[in-house]
């Protein structure tokens, strides 16, 4: 059984939801407080959504200095699977573990709505179980979700197949409809939509399962 750590920053609020999704998929979830300096013996790490440090200054700007982030960086460098969802994605970009930055949405309002995602690469720990080109209905829930990067970074994202998810109908002004990116190795992924909110038809969609199944599955494969 994969053991997935879910990092809790003060101000995080999707940690229970992420943990519930992991457990629904047969993994075991462990909440890790941001003051932890080591991750112990985990198979994967999720940085969940929310408002770490109130999103003051910029989303992720203060959280990246939390003690746990050194351990997350080391875990990622060693090839461990790391997933940042929404605020977690923002933290990973601020920490330099993923390229680019997330700016305020084009319409300057928070957006909570379903979106249709297109799987653009399966070469990542999040999208490995999905089908290239598949459409997935997954909600977004953010104010600063417009993915931004300079031309050089963009060129290398494309060249190295790091754009893993795109919006079908761009809701927030992201460059090239980008909804999620991976690092070069594919073991660190960030996305603005919330796959953990799309786990059952009772709540509107079960399309997030294939993503998190892939992620939890990498961890399980480690055993």
């Amino acid at each position: 059984m994969a053991r997935i750590g879910v990092v809790v920053f003060p101000g995080s609020n999707c940690e229970y939801d992420a943990a519930a999704a992991v457990e629904q998929l047969g993994g075991s979830a462990e909440l890790i407080f941001h003051s932890a300096t080591s991750l112990g013996d985990l198979d994967g790490v999720i940085l969940p959504g929310g408002f770490a440090h109130g999103d003051y200054l910029r989303p992720g700007a203060l959280a990246r200095f939390s003690p746990v982030m050194d351990a997350v960086a080391a875990f990622a460098a060693a090839g461990g699977p790391v997933l940042g969802i929404c605020n977690g994605f923002q933290v990973l970009t601020e920490a330099g573990l993923l390229p680019g930055a997330l700016q305020k949405n084009r319409g300057l309002t928070f957006l909570c709505q379903p979106t249709t995602l297109i799987v653009s690469s399966t070469r990542s720990v999040l999208t490995r179980a999905a089908t290239l080109g598949a459409e997935l209905v997954v909600p977004i829930n953010h104010f600063s979700g417009a993915y931004t990067c300079d031309d050089e970074t963009y060129a290398s994202l494309v060249a190295d197949d790091q754009i893993v998810l795109r919006y079908r109908d761009n809701p927030n002004g992201s460059r090239d409809d980008i909804a999620g990116v991976a690092n070069e190795a594919g073991n660190v992924v960030g996305l603005m939509p919330h796959p953990e909110r799309a786990m059952s038809s009772l709540l509107g969609s079960a399309d997030g399962r294939v993503l998190l199944e892939g992620f939890v599955g990498v961890g399980a494969a480690a055993h």
Binding site: H53, G54, Y56, L57, L62, F65
Partner: protein, 84 residues
């Protein structure tokens, strides 16, 4: 003529500034000591077409007060950007 203007919007004294306070609390762990009284505000730069610097400034100040700030909690000051 076109004038470059800068507007600074800051919270009025006495108004709580949770953002500034949160940043201040975080600083010691980042290795910055001796920093205090952190206040966060907003900055706007724009260009105004006017026939004199005085008129440019007057328009900018009125814009600052009417649109860029809420005088109930914020002070707004416009100035000409001499650098440009």
């Amino acid at each position: 003529m076109n004038y470059s203007v800068i507007v600074e919007v800051t919270l009025r004294p006495g108004i709580a500034d949770p953002e500034g306070a949160t940043i201040e609390r975080a600083l010691p762990t980042l290795g910055f000591s001796g920093v205090s009284l952190v206040r966060a505000g907003k900055l706007f730069r724009f260009s105004i077409d006017a026939d004199s610097p005085e008129n440019a400034l007057a328009t900018a100040q009125s814009l600052a007060e009417r649109l860029l700030s809420n005088p109930v909690i914020e002070d707004a000051v416009a100035r000409l950007d001499e650098g440009r």
